[in-house]
Subunit: 615 residues, 2 copies
């Protein structure tokens, strides 16, 4: 396209942004209008993308990090012929694919859900890393950021990661329109301020007038020809550009322009322009997946093995069976044991350093490209990335997250290192799976099984060694449980998972000596939960004790209660969990102090059974 045509295309994108928001009576047209010329140039001259084949292995990847500028994205889809005008004006309406913030659950051309700011770039870095080190089909990743979101630390985690990894297949375009939601940004139109920051993280920077289409064209070209560094194009723009009533004015964020008809006229009216987006080069289909039979490590019952060790070995084995499995570390691979994978599959191992948001974002980006990521850090530190986990579920991303050092059982390190909220956090995510194995063979099986599930999959491992109680051929269904002790005379059921399974077994032995027979359920699948087994246990034994190395809210106890929320009467139940703030102490002292060891379980069980008799 020539200059005039590019200008016209930019105006059409503005017009359609205004129209979409007007039809919806909500949305962010002014945030779209500032970036319209940037989008026009990208579409017409730089992006290589086959809209009919969004899975084309050499397609460039575009991420709208400023997800609220969705009208611009949908206007671009229309210009590219991917959607019709009739669909454009369904924006934000019930049932429309064109949501307020774009998501790949609804639209095949969206790489990742955005709308929580500061996430598009981190995920884009993950995709670019996959492009550079795994896919190698030559695609470029384009990320359009707002200026407000540069205040998010996650942006600088991502900038550090991309600079360090020399991701010259990554171009970030920052729409520096000077105005955030409630007023001016910190740095206004000071492009140099942003340039200094990106340069410090070893990026190539280009500053440009974002409404000068030829200058923008040259800037994108410069990005494409830069090697050894990612490039950021810092574009000076005006929010609401082109419509005097809103242009560069405060108080115009996140709402339709006051008079849409007048605005469209001011922008030169509707046009029927189409743009021919460049074709990606021919490329083979994505990564072949060399599969061989999975040979999981096998452990003898009675051996003492930490589940984190079993995880590391199982992941390394899975890496041999599946060429699409990748592992990501948050600079604790020696503790989580992902280092075992690293030794055997260095090409598919990614060190993310102490940057948990980027750790999860990299997983999301790689999953978007068809890889099967396992990202691991301490269970406690996934709390750092909860917003990324939440948004990954909005994306529908399939990622495996493995948290080690769960609970007070870690011992001396104290509460800062103890995952005590992780079960609650992951259970509350839509469509998630939450697993908590208690022995090495179970861990190995679950590590393999989780790779095939949908959505967010979380597995919790323990620091200390515990006895192997299952044989290596035992199978563990997702959504299942194991009844470890059972008789016709059971008067109580203890439901446990992970370290508390071993405490529960000891408590059952102690109570059996007193003549109280106890059923023990290993609830390794915390979500989905095995309702049938829990209901049967409740009916047959009448009393339940749940015991977990986790705070009392949102964890195992609540998962058990979930089996009794369909209107049927719930059994007598006592919940043992961590109710105090732990300090430093040895692991067994911690379990005792928290009241989740065998002694506490036996005491609670005894009391419950006696009360049931009295009543």
């Amino acid at each position: 396209m020539n200059t005039a045509e590019l200008v016209e295309l930019g105006q059409q994108l503005r017009v359609d942004s205004v129209r979409a928001a007007a039809a919806a009576e909500s949305g962010h047209p002014t945030s779209s209008m500032s970036a319209a010329d940037l989008m026009a140039v990208l579409l017409a001259h730089h992006l290589r993308y086959d809209f009919e084949r969004p899975d084309h292995p050499a397609n460039d990847r575009f991420v709208l990090s400023k997800g609220h500028a969705s009208p611009l994205l949908y206007a671009a889809y229309k210009a590219a012929g991917a959607i019709e005008d009739a669909e454009l004006v369904t924006f934000r309406k019930l049932g429309s694919r064109l949501e307020g913030h774009p998501t790949p659950r609804r639209l095949p051309w969206v790489e990742t859900a955005t709308g929580s700011l500061g996430q598009g770039l981190p995920v884009g870095v993950g995709i670019a890393l996959a492009g550079k080190r795994l896919d190698r089909t030559g695609y470029r990743v384009w990320v359009l950021c707002g200026d407000s979101e540069l205040a998010e630390g996650s942006i600088w985690e991502a900038a550090e990661h991309a600079g360090y990894e020399h991701l010259d297949n990554l171009t970030v375009i920052v729409d520096v329109n000077r105005l955030g939601q409630r007023g001016p940004t910190r740095h206004g139109h000071d492009l140099d301020a942003y340039a200094r920051r990106f340069q410090a993280f070893d990026w190539h920077t280009v500053e440009v007038d974002g409404h000068d289409v030829d200058a923008v064209d040259r800037a994108f070209g410069e990005a494409e020809s830069t090697t050894g560094q990612p490039t950021v194009v810092l574009a000076r723009t005006l929010k609401g550009k082109g419509v005097a009533a809103v242009e560069d004015r405060e108080g115009m964020h996140g709402k339709p322009v006051p008079d849409a008809e007048e605005a469209v006229a001011e922008l030169g009216g509707q046009r029927g322009l189409g743009v021919r987006v460049g074709e990606p080069p021919a490329a083979r289909m994505l990564h072949s997946v060399p599969t061989s039979a999975l040979e999981l490590p096998r452990y003898d019952t009675g051996d003492e093995v930490a589940t984190r060790d079993a995880f590391g070995k199982a992941l390394a084995a899975l890496g041999h069976a599946r060429g699409d499995v990748v592992a990501l570390d948050g600079e604790v691979g020696d503790s989580t044991r992902t280092e075992m994978f690293a030794k055997e599959h260095p090409d598919r191992y990614f060190e993310c350093y102490i940057a948990e948001q980027q750790l999860v974002a990299t997983a999301v980006g790689m999953a978007a490209r068809g890889w099967v990521p396992y990202a691991s850090t301490f269970a406690a530190f996934f709390t750092r990335a909860y917003d990324f986990v939440r948004m990954a579920s909005v994306s529908g991303a399939g990622i495996n997250l493995v948290g080690s050092h769960a609970g007070v059982a870690i011992g001396q390190d104290g509460p800062s290192q103890m995952g005590l909220e992780d079960l609650a956090m992951f259970r509350a995510v839509h469509g998630s799976t939450v697993l908590y194995p208690c022995d090495a063979n179970q861990t190995a099986r679950l590590v393999a099984a989780m790779s095939g599930l949908d959505g967010i999959r979380y597995l919790r491992t323990s620091r200390g060694a515990g006895p192997v109680i299952y044989g290596p051929d035992e199978e563990f269904e997702i959504g299942g449980s194991k009844v470890l002790r059972s008789s016709d005379e059971d008067r109580l059921t203890v439901v446990a998972a992970g370290v508390t399974v071993h405490e529960a077994l000891a408590a059952a032995d102690a109570l059996a000596e007193e003549g109280i027979r106890v059923r023990v359920v290993d609830l390794y699948s915390v979500k989905p939960v095995d309702r049938a087994t829990l209901r049967r246990a409740a009916e047959e034994t009448g009393c339940l004790v749940t015991v977990e190395d986790h705070h009392e809210e949102g964890g195992l106890g609540d998962a058990v209660l979930d089996a009794f929320t369909d209107g049927r009467p719930v059994p007598r139940l006592v919940r043992l969990a961590v109710r105090t703030m732990p300090g430093s102490a040895a692991p067994d002292e911690q379990l005792h102090a928290a009241g989740i060891d065998a002694v506490a379980i036996a005491a609670a069980g005894r009391l419950l059974v006696e009360e049931a008799v009295v009543r």
Copy 2:
């Protein structure tokens, strides 16, 4: 002290770090040894701190951001005469104040709990901001960071905030020992790499040999005399410095040195050095608190008011009554309505821009200095700061967090903006309070009441307007509830909070027309929960329906079940919650699609009552 004495003091700190870890048989001596000379110089020549009066208003504030180097901190306390040697060797033992990672819950000289990396600096920025703009007693904030933690985005959020606010009362010392937990850091000993980054964020930087005590002394002096900018002292050090078996060697993180006795000898043996830490200047006690009678806004029943509006007005009123209340915004003050506070109390309003980790960290820092912070953003975006909330509870910090735009009821913006995990997230935090008002008068009362509680207090507000149902003089106990409909013939209880209260009332009306009398409980205090009222309702009505604008895990439904986990039989219960991934739609369409509107409640209630009859 002269050079030789400083060197000796540094060696003593190393010796005591080695001894503490040896006694504990765990801990991080090598991470302590790298920073020992930095600590010696700080203690002897720069820190102004009265250990007998940790609440002295002019005390400098020291934050150990690399919290795992706790042996060094405790060795410093010993040298300063704050603790005895006998206590030093209780390190990491059950009941000791000297936990694996330091926390103010146990030690009066600790400003904030650390151990999750990348948090000490953000909190230090909050304290420095309080020092600069609120306390004005001239104290300096010293933060000792590790180099590994500079990979955390939160560090750069904090760096941006401090540079922008010109916090020249803040000095960060980075112990660049080149080695992380599992191996070399990204930048090793490249001090320039870090300097470039801090300079880009408008910091003054000094590079120094961290084992040259005179050079370190000069560097700290330079920091003290720098105006208009925060200073970072980048110190090149060796991990495990002074003991050949561990010095600058990989694989020596987080464990005692192999032979402690030999190491102590190599370091020159035990010394009995004391250090006289400088006195703080005389200063008046912290901020006087001008109090006047609290005049909360009053609303007439039947008016339509959004609870976010009621929050903003109540907070502004509270600001008049209490001079110690401060408000913090994450660049959404126009949406959360904290802008109402900003207009009336600009001196106590802090814009944190889109940086939720820094938002919460600022609150924690200000709370540490005795202020009463209210930090607010969208409920969904507090997920970004979950690790900070978790660590704030380890600190025992008293902070108020207010999340707006809760649930699917926000409407068109879609799932990225909907708080649907927030109740679960905040409930799972130790000692937290979780409030969810349904009308304007209730909101105003709870906003005021939460200021006086211990620990993390969370209040959830709604975007859309709803009817005022309580009079302005109604009182709302924390841990209480309100029974809105009740009769002797109730056959069902509906428990709701926030927007679903209004749906529950409509459902009760509809069922009453069918002859089914329904009790309605407004469970505005989600944690602690009103067990007595729920148990009475269960006993008297037999059936419960819980309904919440939140995912089904960890929220209101689980809070209700919490009342039945003491071994008593639980009632028939059905839980209505958001079980699907929402899209864009109008608020009423969203409630209907999620199955949490009046129609859904009535249907569930009808079924439950009928089933109870059949059984």
